[in-house]
C-alpha cells in the first residue's frame, strides 16, 4: 500500500518536526525487469532502534543499499537532518555519517584488530607520512571498550582479523563504524551468524548505540529479537512499505504474529511440520544409516558417538565455535578426522565430498555464498554440479544441457522455487530460493544421509516453513538427516532428538520426550553454555 503523495509530504513535515535524522521520500528502485522498491517513504530518528522486517525479496536489502549509498534510487530522494542528499557511492554515505555493518564482514584478514578498526582514518605523525601506531592502538582500544568487547588488551589488539571468530569480527566491524563517527548505524541481519549468547550481547550493544543518540536501523529475520528491542518496526512486502508499528505507551509493540502476518500477507500456521508423522518407522528394527564412534574433526572436536537411523532427524545444537560444522565437514572428508564413521554398517573414510557423495552422504554447507553455491554461475549449473556425471555423454565430452535444464525445472516445480530464468546467475535469487537449490542439488545425488548445516540461515519466514516441510518429508521417505542449527525453535520443532555440543564434544542429548517439554530450549542453552553438567543418555 503506497501512501498517496499528499500523505508523503505530510509525513515529511512530520518527520522534520520529530527530528528525523535520515528519511527516504517515495524512493523507488528499478532493477532490470523488477521493481525492487516502490515508493517507500520512511524515516529514522536519532535515539531510536528502527527494525525493518520482510520476507527475502521484499526490498529490505535494496532499501539499505540506497541508504548506504551503494544503489542510487530511480526516483525519490533521501534527506539527512532535513536537507536533501544524493549519495553516488558508499563513501559519500560514510562521510555523511551513515555506516553499514554488512552481513558479510569486510575486515582485512591480514591486518590486526587495531589496524582494522582505524582503517582509512589512521592517526598519523610526521606530517601525515607515518602512522602513529600507539595512538591508533589507543583509539581502537577506546572504541572497543565502548562496545564492551573483550578485545581491548594489547594481545587482542594485535590479533589478525582473519583469526577472529565471527562474533569478534562483528565487534571490530562495529568499532570501525564508530571510528567514522557514524550517526546512523545500519545492521543487516547482525545476529544471523551468531550463537544465542553472542546475539544477546550484540542486541544489548544496539540499545547502547541508541541510548547514545544514534539512529539504529536493524534488519532481522528473528521476529523475537525485533519485538524485544525495536522502538519501531516497519514491514516491507514486495518492495512496498506495508505497515509501521510503534511501541505504545505501555512499552508494548506488535506481537510476532501480527508482524509475520504483515510480512507474508497471510496467516502462518505452525511453520513446523507435525513431528509424530516424521518419526522413523520401526525404529528398533532399522539399522543405522550412519554411525559415529569416538569421532571428531582433528583439533576441533572429539569423542563424538552417535547413530542416526533412516528416517530420523537428529539436531545438532551448540554455540558458535562448539565444533558442529567442523565435525560435519570431517564426516564428508573436508577436514582431518579421528575416530570411526560407519555408513550402512560399513566403515568408511572419505577423502573428499565426492567420495562421501558416492557412498550416499551429502553435506549442505552453512555458508551458501562462499561454499555452498557458485554465486556467479547459473541456477542450472549450480543445480547439477554435484551430480554432473549423470548428464554427460561420451565420457564427459558432452554435457546434455537439455537434461540439465529439465532437472532444474523439476526441482523448481517440486520445491516451488521462484526462479523465472534458471540460466541467470543464482545470485539473482532470494536467499530462500538459493537454499532450496542448495538442498535440491544434493538430493539429486540420491543420498542416504543428509547433513544440513543451518538450513534456514538468511531465509525468510515463508521459505523457512517450506524447507522444514521438505526436510520432514525427506525423513519420512527414509533419509537420515543431521540438522545443525543455531536456532533452537528450529531444532526443537524439527528434530526427533537433539545433540548439544560444547567445546568440541557432546555435552548432552535431549530425547524426543525431553524435547516435547516446555523447558527444552532452556535445557539446550544450559548444556551448550556449560551451566548444566547433567549428561543425558546418549549411546
Amino acid at each position: 500500500m503506497v501512501a498517496p503523495s499528499s500523505a508523503i509530504s505530510d509525513a515529511n513535515s512530520t518527520a522534520r518536526r520529530d527530528g528525523a535524522l535520515l528519511s527516504a521520500a517515495s524512493v523507488t528502485v528499478d532493477y532490470p525487469g523488477v521493481r525492487a522498491l516502490d515508493g517507500v517513504s520512511i524515516d529514522f530518528r536519532a535515539g531510536e532502534i528502527h527494525a525493518i522486517v520482510g520476507e527475502n525479496g521484499a526490498g529490505k536489502s535494496t532499501l539499505m543499499k540506497v541508504l548506504s549509498g551503494s544503489v542510487r534510487p530511480t526516483a525519490g530522494q533521501l534527506r539527512l537532518a532535513g536537507s536533501a542528499v544524493a549519495f553516488t557511492r558508499p563513501s559519500d554515505a560514510i562521510r555523511a555519517g551513515i555506516a553499514m555493518v554488512h552481513q558479510e564482514l569486510n575486515l582485512v584478514p591480514t591486518l590486526d584488530v587495531a589496524e582494522n578498526v582505524m582503517l582509512g582514518r589512521e592517526p598519523t605523525r610526521m606530517l601525515g607520512v607515518a602512522i602513529d601506531r600507539p595512538r591508533q592502538r589507543a583509539r581502537a582500544r577506546e572504541l572497543l571498550a565502548m562496545l564492551g568487547a573483550d578485545l581491548t588488551d594489547d594481545h587482542a589488539l594485535a590479533r589478525r582479523a582473519g583469526d577472529l571468530s565471527v562474533a569478534e569480527a562483528q565487534f571490530v566491524e562495529i568499532a570501525k563504524c564508530l571510528a567514522s563517527d557514524a550517526r546512523v548505524l545500519i545492521f543487516d541481519e547482525p545476529t544471523a551468524v551468531l550463537g544465542e549468547r553472542e546475539a544477546s550481547r550484540l542486541l544489548a550493544l544496539l540499545k547502547r548505540m541508541r541510548d547514545e543518540g544514534r539512529a539504529v536501523i536493524f534488519i532481522s529475520h528473528h521476529l523475537d529479537e525485533v519485538v524485544a528491542i525495536a522502538d519501531r518496526v516497519s514491514v516491507l512486502r514486495d518492495g512496498k512499505l506495508v505497515q509501521s508499528f510503534a511501541r505504545d505507551a505501555a512499552g508494548a509493540i506488535a506481537g510476532e504474529d501480527a508482524l509475520a502476518h504483515a510480512m507474508v500477507g497471510r496467516e502462518l500456521g505452525s511453520i513446523y511440520p507435525a513431528k509424530g508423522e516424521a518419526m522413523p518407522q520401526a525404529s528398533g528394527a532399522a539399522s543405522n544409516a550412519i554411525e559415529l564412534v569416538g569421532f571428531g574433526a582433528r583439533g576441533r572436536s572429539s569423542g563424538i558417538s552417535l547413530a542416526v537411523k533412516p528416517g530420523e532427524i537428529v539436531g545438532f545444537a551448540g554455540l558458535v565455535g562448539s565444533g558442529r560444522t567442523e565435525t560435519a565437514e570431517a564426516i564428508v572428508g573436508l577436514r582431518r578426522r579421528e575416530g570411526v564413521v560407519r555408513v550402512d554398517g560399513r566403515e568408511v573414510a572419505f577423502a573428499n565430498p565426492r567420495a562421501a557423495m558416492r557412498a550416499g552422504v551429502a553435506y549442505v554447507s552453512e555458508d551458501r555464498k562462499g561454499r555452498g553455491l557458485h554465486v556467479t554461475l547459473s541456477s542450472v549449473a549450480n543445480m547439477t554440479l554435484p551430480s554432473l556425471d549423470a548428464y554427460t555423454h561420451f565420457g564427459g565430452a558432452r554435457v546434455d544441457s537439455r537434461a540439465e535444464r529439465a532437472v532444474a525445472e523439476r526441482w523448481i516445480g517440486s520445491f516451488a522455487i521462484r526462479c523465472a530464468r534458471p540460466d541467470l546467475p543464482i545470485s539473482s535469487l532470494s536467499g530462500g530460493n538459493q537454499q532450496k537449490f542448495a538442498l535440491a542439488r544434493w538430493l539429486e545425488t540420491k543420498p542416504k544421509v543428509l547433513v544440513i548445516d543451518e538450513p534456514t540461515r538468511g531465509v525468510d519466514v515463508g521459505a523457512k516453513g517450506e524447507i522444514y516441510r521438505i526436510i520432514a518429508e525427506l525423513a519420512r521417505a527414509g533419509l537420515a538427516c543431521i540438522v545443525i542449527s543455531s536456532e533452537l525453535p528450529e531444532l526443537i520443532g524439527l528434530a526427533h532428538r537433539v545433540v548439544v555440543m560444547r567445546g568440541g564434544t557432546v555435552a548432552g542429548e535431549l530425547s524426543r520426550e525431553k524435547l516435547a517439554r516446555h523447558d527444552s530450549d532452556e535445557r539446550i542453552v544450559r548444556l551448550a553454555s556449560g551451566l548444566s553438567e547433567e549428561k543425558e543418555s546418549h549411546a
Binding site: P32, R35, T74, R354, M357, T376, A397, R398
Partner: protein, 359 residues
C-alpha cells in the same frame, strides 16, 4: 511496466563488455583495409596473417583454459622451445642412425608433443601437489625449461636433418587452386600449368596452411570443451570459487592438473609447428616472450583474469587483433621498438572497456 522499458534501453557498457572484441576487430579490419587497400584484403596477405599467428594462437587457446581455472602459465614459451629442441634432436639422431625419414619425423613429432605434455604435467604437479601458486610454479618453468633447451644446443641452433618431410606441417597446406587438365601442348612439350582458384603473387596456388587448420581445430575443440563438456564446467566451477567447487564434490586437484598438462601438450604442438616451419630450433629465440602474447590475446578476448569465465572464440579474435596491429604498424613503417607500446596500450584499453558487472 516501467521496469521493462528500463531493461530494454540500450546500454553501451554491457554491449562493449560482450562484443567489444568484435567491434575492435571490425575497426582494425576497416583501418587496415583503408590504409592498405587491396594489399590487405589480398588472400595472400590474410593467409600470412593467419599463418604467422597460428603458433601463438595455439598457445593462447590453452592459456584461456588455464586462466578460466584462475591459474596462469608463464612457462609456455619455454615449453615450446624445450619440446621443439628435444623433438628435433631426437629426430636428427634417428636420421643419423639410418632410420627412414618418415619414421624419424613421426617419432620426433611424438617426442615434441610428449615433452610438452610432460613439462605441463610438471607444472600441474607443482601447482596441485606442491601447492605452489601457479604464477610462481610456472615462473620457475619459464626459467628452467628455456635453460634446458639452451643447454642441449649450447644456446645455438638445432638444424633439422630432414630434407622435406619435417617441413610439411609448418609450411605445407591444402592448395586452394586446381590445375587444369592438359599440361602438354600440341608439340608435346610441357606447357606452363594453368591454375584455377586462389593464387599467390608468383602465380602458384595459394594454400590453406596446416598450421592454421591445427590452430582452428584446437580452438574449436577447446571452445566445445569449455562450454559443453564436463571438464569445462569443472574448470569454470574451480575458477569461480575453488572452495565451493570442493564442497560440491569436484575433483579439484585432477581438474587443475589436467589443465596444465593440456597447456603443455599445446605448447608441444606450437613447438612442432614452429620447428617445422623454420626447419630448425633457435634455442635462444624460439618462443621468447610468447607467454605475454598469449596472455594478452586471452585478456583482449574477454576472458576474466580472475577466472570462472572465459571464451575461446574471443581469444582467437584477440590473437587476430594482435596480429593485425603488428601488421598495420609494420606496413605503416612504425619502428618495431614502438610496436610493444601500442600493443600494451591496446591490452590496457581492452581491459578498461570490458570491465563491468563481472568486477
Amino acid at each position: 511496466m516501467s521496469a521493462r522499458s528500463n531493461d530494454s534501453r540500450f546500454r553501451i557498457q554491457p554491449f562493449l563488455e560482450k562484443w567489444g572484441v568484435i567491434v575492435a576487430f571490425a575497426l582494425l579490419f576497416a583501418v587496415s583495409t583503408w590504409k592498405q587497400g587491396f594489399d590487405f584484403l589480398n588472400p595472400e596477405n590474410l593467409r600470412t596473417l593467419l599463418n604467422s599467428n597460428a603458433p601463438v594462437g595455439i598457445l593462447a587457446v590453452g592459456m584461456t583454459l588455464v586462466i578460466v581455472s584462475s591459474g596462469i602459465d608463464l612457462s609456455v614459451g619455454s615449453m615450446v622451445v624445450l619440446s621443439a629442441a628435444l623433438g628435433t634432436t631426437a629426430m636428427n639422431s634417428l636420421i643419423g642412425n639410418e632410420w627412414s625419414e618418415g619414421s624419424a619425423v613421426a617419432l620426433g613429432a611424438l617426442v615434441t608433443l610428449g615433452a610438452g605434455l610432460f613439462a605441463g604435467a610438471i607444472n600441474g604437479s607443482l601447482v596441485v601437489f606442491g601447492r605452489i601458486a601457479p604464477f610462481i610454479a610456472t615462473l620457475g618453468g619459464l626459467a628452467a625449461f628455456r635453460s634446458m633447451a639452451l643447454a642441449i644446443a649450447d644456446a645455438g641452433e638445432i638444424r633439422s636433418q630432414s630434407s622435406t618431410l619435417f617441413g610439411v606441417l609448418g609450411r605445407g597446406g591444402i592448395p586452394l587452386a586446381y590445375e587444369s587438365a592438359p599440361a602438354v601442348d600440341a608439340t608435346g612439350e610441357a606447357a606452363a600449368p594453368v591454375f584455377h582458384g586462389l593464387l599467390n603473387g608468383a602465380g602458384k596456388p595459394l594454400t590453406l596452411p596446416y598450421s592454421v587448420i591445427v590452430f582452428f581445430a584446437v580452438a574449436i575443440v577447446a571452445q566445445w570443451f569449455l562450454s559443453r563438456a564436463r571438464f569445462g564446467r569443472q574448470l569454470v566451477a574451480v575458477g569461480a570459487n575453488e572452495t565451493a567447487a570442493r564442497y560440491a564434490g569436484i575433483p579439484i586437484a585432477w581438474v587443475r592438473f589436467r589443465v596444465y598438462a593440456i597447456m603443455g601438450l599445446l605448447a608441444g604442438v606450437a613447438g612442432l609447428v614452429q620447428s617445422s616451419r623454420m626447419n630448425s630450433v633457435s634455442t635462444a629465440q624460439l618462443g621468447l616472450g610468447s607467454e605475454l602474447d598469449a596472455i594478452a590475446a586471452v585478456v583482449i578476448g574477454g576472458t576474466s583474469l580472475r577466472g570462472g569465465f572465459g571464451r575461446v572464440w574471443g581469444t582467437v579474435v584477440g590473437v587476430l587483433i594482435l596480429g593485425m596491429i603488428t601488421n598495420i604498424l609494420t606496413i605503416s613503417g612504425v619502428s618495431p621498438y614502438w610496436q610493444g607500446a601500442v600493443k600494451g596500450a591496446v591490452i590496457v584499453l581492452a581491459v578498461l572497456v570490458q570491465r563491468g558487472s563481472r568486477d
